[in-house]
Structures are given as structure tokens and as C-alpha cells.
């Protein structure tokens, strides 16, 4: 069981450990599916306005404005349209989607139905990593119950809106979390990213308009629709409204999920997790191993898109890996690059070859067999990956390495013979 904490009032974790996740009645009792009932009395246009006004941003990593994504899909003439819930959650150290799905599956289902109603989709998939067996089991039951209660299926609650939802077990590869690779996988093909544009809201699943959203993003919708965007915007700070789940791991005393309103300081979050374990703070890997590296002297910073942007960082998918000062940065980077070289899909040269080549150089540096020239090569390869890789994986794989080359330059140099 994943432990959790909250700063302020929770939006996403409000039911957790309070209701029986396998009981739809329990969810309904706490006001579940009320947002859906309210929504069906309104037009999709009105609801879209509400989502846009809420300024909700995607929680899957990129932070794309959800309302705009919905609007693009809604404006497409092609049908059918699809909603895809991205529950692949492949980023190391990330388990926030899992906690929602295991403990409050209906919240996500309701969110998906709302998204479908707004864009006019009649079909949806929850694409979930295959090792989330408990989440899958609970989702299966939840979907069945939702059908029974008429929240899913034809003519939902007597309206003329129909929406069908299915679970699709993923391939368990990191790349399958990338939205277009995810779509390829659902279509039964090799999970590799597609060329964008066209973006999924324009041409997605089977070439039809599709919104792909992260579990956590959709879990915000019932709140926004039921209470309104005004209420939602009471959480967080300008440009970053609402709350965000953060997964604490690494050298911290307490591991688990923390829900915070945007704007809380990173150092505060770390303190809430009991502070650094086994030494002093060295750095934080923020937003996953494809995210950013925050140095010990930078952690006194508000966690929101704007503030973090100033230090070339971002909340990403909400992963906080704390590193204490016993950690060797080269060792950390070696681990990260090992992950990416195994998870690169192999579609494009810069990433397929760049991850392997830079991994080998880092290893050589770690073994103190490298010279300065190797370090230059590493930087050159990493920059090329960032600039010339086909998809987000290769483009972000070298992030931590490149940032550490700046922020921990001396430590890298100390490994050079």
C-alpha cells in the first residue's frame, strides 16, 4: 500500500482510504457521478468553456492546456472520436496514477466520460501497464458497475449521449506512454511514436480525433465540472491552478505520494517527507529521469510552471527523487542512461545509437578510464539526441546528464584522468 500525505485540502486524494474502492455505491455516496449528472444538463460548449477557464494543464508531463486539447478534438468533423486514458505510468519513481486507479477508479472513469461528452467521443480506452494488476482488477469491476448504473453505455442516464469504455493492457514499455506510440499499440502495432503533426486530437486512434490524457488530468474533471472553474482556481497559483500529486522517492525518510496545491516550495515538500536521509541534500531529480535536475541551492523554489521555468525545470509528471551528498553524479547518470538505452524504441538513429554510445562513455568515465575528450563527446552526443531525436524520449533522455554537466561540472571532471 502506498502511503500518502496532503498539504491543504485534497482534490484528487479526497476519497482515498475513506471509501471502499470496489464499491460504486460508496463513490456515489460521496457525491460521485454528480458532476456527470450536472454535465448532461449542459451543452458540451458550456463545459468546454469551464475547462478552458480552469486553466487545467496536463499532468502526464508536458503540461499542455487540457481545454485547448479538447477544443481541437471537438472542432474536428470526423467521427467517431476517442478518449484514451494514459495509465502507462512508465517514468521511474512514478506511482501517482496507480494510487488513484487502485483507490478511486470511478474518479477516473467519471473524468473520462466527461471528456468524452465534451469532445463528442463515443468510445474510450484505458491503456494501462500490464503489471498494475490490482488497478486493472478494480477498474474492471468499476467499469462493469458503471455500465450497470447507466453511467456508461448507450444513452447515458437517459440522455442521447453514449460512451463505451474498455481496458487495454499495455506492452509494459516506457515508450508506450508516449501518446502516439500508445495509439499504435492500441491499434495492435509495434509501439513506436508517430510523426506530429498531425496531433492526436486531429488524427489519433485509427486516424480519428482522439484526446489522450493522463489519469491524474482526468481525475480533476469531476471537481472542475461540479464545483466550477472559480472554485478550482482557488487552489494553486497563477498559471498553475489546482493541486498536483508528487511521488517521493530516493534518499528521503518517507516514501509515498503528496498532494499539494501548486506554489508550495520544493524544500517544504521534502521536509514534509521527513527530509533527506543518509546525508545532506545534493540534488533533486524533478519530474522524472527525463525531467530536470535541481541543485541543493535551488530547492527553495515554488513548485509551479512559471517559477520552475526560471531554472529550466518543471513539475513534469510529479516525481521527486531526492539525492543525498553520498551519491556520485556520474553513477546517477549511468543509471539513467542505462534505463533509456533499454527503453529507446529503436525507431530513430540519434536515440537508438546516442543512448548506447553515451551510456558507454559514462561508464568509462565512472571507471576512471576516460579523458577530457570523452567528456566532450558525451556532451556532443547528448546535444544531438536532444536536438535531433524523433520523439520526446530521445529529446529528453539526456536532460539530466546535460544539466549535471553544468551544475556538477567539477564532480564530472574529478573522474577524468
Amino acid at each position: 500500500m502506498i502511503d500518502f500525505k496532503v498539504i491543504g485540502t485534497p482534490i484528487l486524494l479526497r476519497n482515498i482510504k475513506k471509501i471502499d474502492p470496489e464499491s460504486i455505491e460508496a463513490y456515489i455516496e460521496t457525491g460521485g457521478y454528480e458532476a456527470l449528472k450536472k454535465a448532461l444538463k449542459k451543452s458540451p460548449d458550456e463545459l468546454l468553456e469551464e475547462v478552458k477557464k480552469s486553466e487545467l494543464r496536463g499532468r502526464g508531463g508536458a503540461g499542455f492546456p487540457t481545454g485547448i486539447k479538447f477544443e481541437i478534438a471537438k472542432n474536428q468533423k470526423e467521427t467517431p472520436k476517442f478518449v484514451v486514458v494514459n495509465a502507462e505510468e512508465g517514468e521511474p519513481g512514478t506511482f501517482k496514477d496507480r494510487i488513484i486507479l487502485e483507490n478511486d477508479p470511478h474518479l477516473v472513469i467519471e473524468g473520462a466520460i466527461l471528456a468524452a461528452y465534451i469532445i463528442g467521443a463515443n468510445y474510450g480506452y484505458i491503456a494501462i501497464r500490464p503489471d498494475y494488476t490490482l488497478a486493472i482488477k478494480r477498474l474492471e469491476k468499476a467499469i462493469q458497475d458503471a455500465y450497470k448504473y447507466g453511467f456508461l453505455g448507450d444513452n447515458i442516464l437517459g440522455s442521447n449521449f453514449s460512451f463505451h469504455l474498455k481496458i487495454k493492457r499495455g506492452a509494459g514499455a516506457y515508450i508506450c506512454g508516449e501518446e502516439t506510440a500508445l495509439l499504435e499499440m492500441i491499434e495492435g502495432k509495434r509501439g513506436e511514436p508517430r510523426k506530429k503533426p498531425p496531433f492526436p486530437p486531429q488524427k489519433g486512434l485509427y486516424g480519428k480525433p482522439t484526446v489522450v490524457n493522463n489519469v491524474e488530468t482526468l481525475a480533476n474533471l469531476p471537481f472542475i465540472i461540479y464545483y466550477g472553474s472559480e472554485e478550482f482556481k482557488k487552489y494553486g497559483v497563477e498559471g498553475s491552478y489546482g493541486t498536483k500529486l508528487f511521488c517521493m522517492s530516493g534518499d528521503v525518510s518517507w516514501k509515498g505520494i503528496i498532494e499539494i496545491p501548486f506554489g508550495v516550495k520544493l524544500s517544504e515538500i521534502i521536509s514534509l517527507a521527513g527530509g533527506v536521509k543518509g546525508g545532506k541534500l545534493k540534488a533533486v531529480i524533478l519530474g522524472g529521469v527525463s525531467g530536470s535536475l535541481v541543485k541543493y541551492d535551488e530547492v527553495d523554489i515554488e513548485v509551479d510552471y512559471h517559477s520552475l521555468g526560471r531554472i529550466q525545470a518543471g513539475p513534469g509528471c510529479g516525481t521527486i527523487i531526492v539525492l543525498n551528498d553520498k551519491r556520485d553524479i556520474v553513477d546517477v547518470c549511468e543509471n539513467i542512461m542505462r534505463f533509456f538505452k533499454d527503453e529507446s524504441c529503436g525507431k530513430c538513429f540519434p536515440c537508438r545509437l546516442g543512448t548506447e554510445a553515451s551510456y558507454r562513455i559514462i561508464k568509462k568515465i565512472k571507471e576512471k578510464k576516460a579523458n577530457l575528450h570523452d567528456l566532450f563527446n558525451l556532451e556532443r552526443i547528448c546535444k544531438t539526441m536532444k536536438n535531433a531525436s524523433f520523439c520526446g524520449l530521445g529529446q529528453t533522455a539526456p536532460n539530466i546528464i546535460l544539466q549535471s554537466l553544468q551544475k556538477f561540472k567539477d564532480e564530472w571532471l574529478s573522474h577524468i584522468s
Binding site: K347, F349, R352
Partner: protein, 587 residues
């Protein structure tokens, strides 16, 4: 008319049609952008990243091959960032590639080598990445140490042949291009068409090299080495000696073959005439005696293997006639000893083919032994160069008789629709009992993938179809199966354009080059005095002296084949090629 958009390339303004790629726009502006994986219509996946350019306002470098131009786009093709990225990608590619250029079968067409001058890399600084792999050797050799994973072969097999022999297996650095489970190619449904070979930018896919063995046989005083060259060879070999595509090279080719030491130079076109008289006869019999129709041509071994593998229920539709190469092989091994007074076991018969599947065909049970080696056009050119022969300076010479004479009908065998047209010239005359002077069946010509034509002469009504590429063939077969298409005769060639686009042809083969090679063969036909196979005097001679009637028992024994769904290839292939040669040639 497409809308024009205003774009800037390297600071200069251009008006270009909306919707084209940056690559195309740059090409039109006269700016060359290097590419490695890109192949129009086949591989447009943006894999290699060599073609990256800077686009103002974009977060990353953009792939020119898959990024479409937009109004106001500002493109920079030669910035430091672009150059560095290209160099690094190219360097990584080389680091993962076992470069053995001087000893690589790919030779000049190698695209890694070709783009070197556009990249300007002077050193591979990173550690070599490639792993050693055992070569997969059969008709087509796969060398994974040279594969750059451009995926052209995967796309080719899928999009052109619809077979999907090769797939992307595994992920990341451990991904590889191979048949499923990395099976040897010989144990897959691969039809050995070689289309992947001609598109592979590297030496990762090559045909089995038989040049050494042929050169050895030529030096062996106990051997009488005979050579025959296929219809499509004369339309393309010039390209390998610097002549423009579409140049017919016949006399000089014959001269070069003699100079190489071949004792007799024959022409597979003779075999083509022989195929036509047998096949036309078979068609008429099938129509008369209401046997299985439509009849399928059987001169393309890749197509025959395809039917055996994937449409076994349609095996009875395949004409039992052997291919021109196989018929000529049987005739030479059986009758040349008597004509020239040489013992049969001294004869070594080598054929020059535009095709890799022909190397496989000679291993089929009822053909084995009739032909000893098949060389592709590329291999022959290599041999001529090894021998130091200056092809272009040679005086024209003529093929030997009797198996060097041919009709115009045979000449067009190398083009899609050619076999059909040749067969019709004979069958229509035999069916109607009349002689015709207009011999051009234009509706079966052309480069459309599937062509359907109706022949309506006197009382004779025939409906025929011509398809090239096995993807197109599948479409036709499905239509026949679903009774959506009712025809009597179907010609299929596995390669795009027919043998002129074969897997053994010079590289590259573009649509433009295909058209020129086709034109050359149609011109050859037009200029021939005899344009019908049954009028070839040496065909008549063969039947009078040896075979009796068309379709006679003797003709059947020598010139017709059997097909089966589960050919014994495993047995055959499990022996090494050398073992087979030893067995067959009793070396």
C-alpha cells in the same frame, strides 16, 4: 492547382506548393540535403535524422523528409547546429557499422559512402558499437554488422510484396531487422525476389556471390562452359559501364562473354520463345478441354514460390511450363551434347539474370542440374571488370546458333505485360487460325500495377490480367477467389516493372530508369523481323529434330514442372550450396 506558399530557405524567398516536404522544397530550390533512410513511397519514417534542418521558431531540429512546409516558414539547411547534428548522427551510424568498404559487395551504390561527401566527417571518435553476428547465407545474404536499421527492406517486403518477411525485432539498441525469431531467410516464406537487396543502402543485404565459382569453371580445361543471358539484361547492363539507362547492349555483351572464355553464348530469349509455344499450347488446351482457368504464367520463380506458399489451392492454375531459363537449361544439357558432340557432364551452363530468385529456381527438384550457376547483372559486370575487359571498346558480336536466335515476342519478356503479349501473339493466331500483322496488344502494356484487358478478335473472346509486384498479385488472386474477377489468363511478375526492375539489376532502379529500360525492349521487338515465337525457325528446328509436337510427351518431360505446397526446400537448403553443386556437377 495547389496553393502556393511563401517560404524562405537560407534567407532566400521561394514560392512553393503547399503540402510538399522541406526535402522536396529544398530539392526544387537546388539545395541538396543528405538522406540515408528516406526512399520515396517506401520509407518515409524519419528514422535516420541525417536530413535535419533548422526551422525558425521550432524547439528542435526538424526532419526535412517528413516535415511539410507552411506559409512563412524559415528554413536553414547549413547552420553549425545542423552540421554538428548530422556529423554526430553519421558518426554514430558508422560506429555501429562494420565498415569493410574495399571488400564490400555493395560497391559504389553504397549510400553510406555516397553521403560521406555531404557530411565531411574526418574521424569516428566514439567507441565502436557494433556486435559481431554470424552471416545468414542462402540466396540472399544478410549481414547484420552492416545493417543500419533504415527499414527500407522491411517496408519494401511489406509494401511491394505484401509478404512481411523482415520485421523490426526487439527495441532500442538491441533491436534488429530480421525475419521473425531471427530465422534464416531460407526457412521463411521469402520468395528471394531481391527487392530488398536493391533498396538496401548498405552491404547488409546482398545476393549470393557466384562469380568466383564461374571464373574457376572458365579456367577448367575439362569444362565446356556455356552462357545464356536473360531478356532484361541487355537493357540495363550498360548502366554499370556508364551508359545512360535504356541503352541496349547486345553485341558488346556477347563479345565480352566470349572474351571471358565462355565456349558458347546463347540467349535466354530463345528459351522465352520456347516457353511461349508451350504455354500458348497449354492455354488453348485448358480452354478447349475446360481445365482449370484462369491459367497463371509461371516464368517468375518468386511468383511461383509465392503461390506455393500462400495460395496452395491455386497451384493447379499455374502453367506447368518451366521458365525460359529452365527450359533453355533443359534443352542445352539434353541436346547440346548431340549437336556439338560433347559429353553432357563436361557442360557447365551459366545464366546471366536480372534476378536473385533465379538463383533459387535452379535448386528446384525438376530443374536441378540443368543450370549450374546464375549470375546477376551486377555480378557479371563485376566479372567483366575483374577480367580487365573494356566493354565499351569491344566490337559487336552475335550469339551462337541455334539457341541464340529469338523473336520480338521474346524480347519483351523482361517487361511487365511482355509475357502476356508474347503469348497472345501466338495463342490468338492458333485459336483463330489466321495470321495477323498488327501485333501490339497495347492494353496489356504500361506500368499500372494491375491491368485488365479484353481481347475480342473474330469469335475469340479472351479476358486477361497482368499484375506486377506480389502485393498487386494478391489483390488479383483475392478477386479471383471471391469471383469478382473472371479471366482466363493472368501474368504476374514479382518485381516492379517486371524483370527490368529485378532484384539482380543495377542499383538504383527508379521509375524513370524502369521506363527507359522498358522502352529499349519494346524498340528491340519493333525492329525484329520475326515478332512471334512460333515463327522462330530454330524453335521449329528443335521440335522437328528432338521434341515432336508442342506439348508432346517428350516436351512435357523436359519442359514442364511440378509444384507443391510444401516443397522440400528444407532438405535442399540444409545441404550447403557447395554440397549441392558437388552433387550436381560431380566436382
Amino acid at each position: 492547382m495547389k496553393k502556393l506558399v511563401d517560404i524562405k530557405i537560407n534567407g532566400k524567398s521561394y514560392l512553393m506548393p503547399e503540402g510538399i516536404t522541406i526535402l522536396e522544397a529544398c530539392k526544387r530550390a537546388g539545395i541538396h540535403i543528405p538522406t540515408l533512410c528516406y526512399l520515396e513511397g517506401i520509407t518515409e519514417g524519419g528514422h535516420c535524422g541525417i536530413c535535419v534542418v533548422e526551422v525558425k521558431g521550432a524547439r528542435n531540429l526538424q526532419r526535412a523528409c517528413i516535415t511539410k512546409i507552411k506559409e512563412g516558414m524559415e528554413i536553414y539547411t547549413d547552420t553549425p547546429l545542423v552540421r554538428k547534428a548530422r556529423k554526430t548522427i553519421y558518426e554514430l551510424t558508422l560506429a555501429n557499422h562494420k565498415s569493410t568498404c574495399p571488400a564490400c559487395q555493395k560497391e559504389e551504390p553504397c549510400e553510406i559512402r555516397k553521403i560521406a561527401k555531404n557530411i565531411g566527417l574526418s574521424e569516428v571518435e566514439v567507441e565502436l558499437l557494433f556486435k559481431e553476428h554470424e552471416k545468414d547465407r542462402s540466396i540472399i545474404n544478410r549481414d547484420q554488422t552492416k545493417c543500419i536499421e533504415c527499414r527500407r527492406c522491411v517496408n519494401t517486403c511489406e509494401k511491394i510484396q505484401g509478404i512481411n518477411t523482415l520485421i523490426v525485432d526487439g527495441k532500442g539498441f538491441n533491436s534488429r531487422i530480421s525475419p521473425p525469431y531471427n530465422l534464416p531467410l531460407k526457412n521463411t516464406p521469402c520468395v528471394f525476389c531481391g527487392q530488398c537487396v536493391v533498396r538496401c543502402p548498405t552491404g547488409a543485404l546482398t545476393e549470393k556471390d557466384d562469380t568466383e565459382k564461374v571464373l574457376d569453371a572458365l579456367q577448367d580445361p575439362n569444362k565446356y562452359v556455356v552462357v545464356s543471358f536473360a531478356p532484361a539484361v541487355r537493357a540495363s547492363i550498360g548502366e554499370l559501364f556508364g551508359l545512360p539507362p535504356g541503352t541496349l547492349v547486345i553485341g558488346k555483351l556477347v563479345a565480352a562473354l566470349r572474351k571471358l572464355g565462355f565456349d558458347k553464348v546463347f540467349d535466354v530469349n530463345y528459351g522465352a520463345d520456347l516457353t511461349i509455344v508451350e504455354e500458348a499450347n497449354e492455354l488453348i488446351e485448358r480452354i478447349k478441354f475446360r481445365k482449370t482457368l484462369p491459367m497463371f504464367t509461371s516464368c517468375c520463380p518468386a511468383w511461383v514460390k509465392f503461390v506455393e506458399e500462400f495460395y496452395p489451392e491455386m497451384i493447379p492454375n499455374l502453367s506447368t511450363c518451366k521458365s525460359p531459363q529452365a527450359m533453355l537449361g533443359a534443352v542445352i544439357k539434353n541436346f547440346l551434347p548431340e549437336l556439338e558432340n560433347i559429353p553432357k557432364d563436361k557442360i557447365v551452363h551459366v545464366t546471366i539474370m536480372p534476378c536473385t530468385a533465379k538463383k533459387y529456381e535452379i535448386l528446384r527438384p525438376d530443374i536441378m542440374g540443368d543450370i549450374d550457376y546464375v549470375l546477376t547483372v551486377r555480378e557479371l559486370a563485376k566479372m567483366i571488370k575483374i577480367a580487365g575487359i573494356d566493354l565499351l571498346s569491344l566490337e559487336d558480336e552475335e550469339e551462337d546458333i541455334p539457341f541464340g536466335e529469338y523473336s520480338g515476342a521474346a524480347a519483351i519478356f523482361g517487361v511487365t505485360g511482355g509475357v502476356m503479349e508474347a503469348a497472345l501473339r501466338t495463342a490468338v493466331e492458333w485459336l483463330t487460325g489466321e495470321t495477323f500483322s498488327n501485333l501490339d496488344f497495347v492494353p496489356v502494356r504500361g506500368m499500372k500495377n494491375i491491368r485488365i484487358a479484353e481481347i475480342d478478335i473474330k469469335d475469340l473472346k479472351l479476358k486477361v490480367a497482368v499484375a506486377h509486384t506480389l502485393k498487386a498479385a494478391q489483390e488479383v488472386l483475392e478477386k479471383i477467389k471471391n469471383k469478382e474477377l473472371d479471366i482466363q489468363f493472368l501474368e504476374v511478375m514479382a518485381c516492379p516493372g517486371g524483370c527490368i526492375g529485378g532484384g539482380g539489376q543495377p542499383i538504383p532502379t527508379t521509375e524513370e530508369i524502369l521506363r527507359k529500360r522498358a522502352e529499349a525492349l519494346y524498340t528491340l521487338d519493333k525492329n525484329k523481323e520475326i515478332r512471334k515465337s512460333h515463327e522462330n525457325p530454330f524453335i521449329k528446328f528443335l521440335y522437328e529434330k528432338f521434341l515432336g509436337n508442342y506439348g508432346s510427351e517428350k516436351a512435357h518431360k523436359l519442359l514442364h514442372a511440378k509444384y507443391s505446397h510444401k516443397p522440400n526446400w528444407d532438405d535442399i537448403f540444409n545441404k550447403s550450396y557447395e554440397e549441392i553443386c558437388k552433387e550436381v556437377l560431380k566436382y
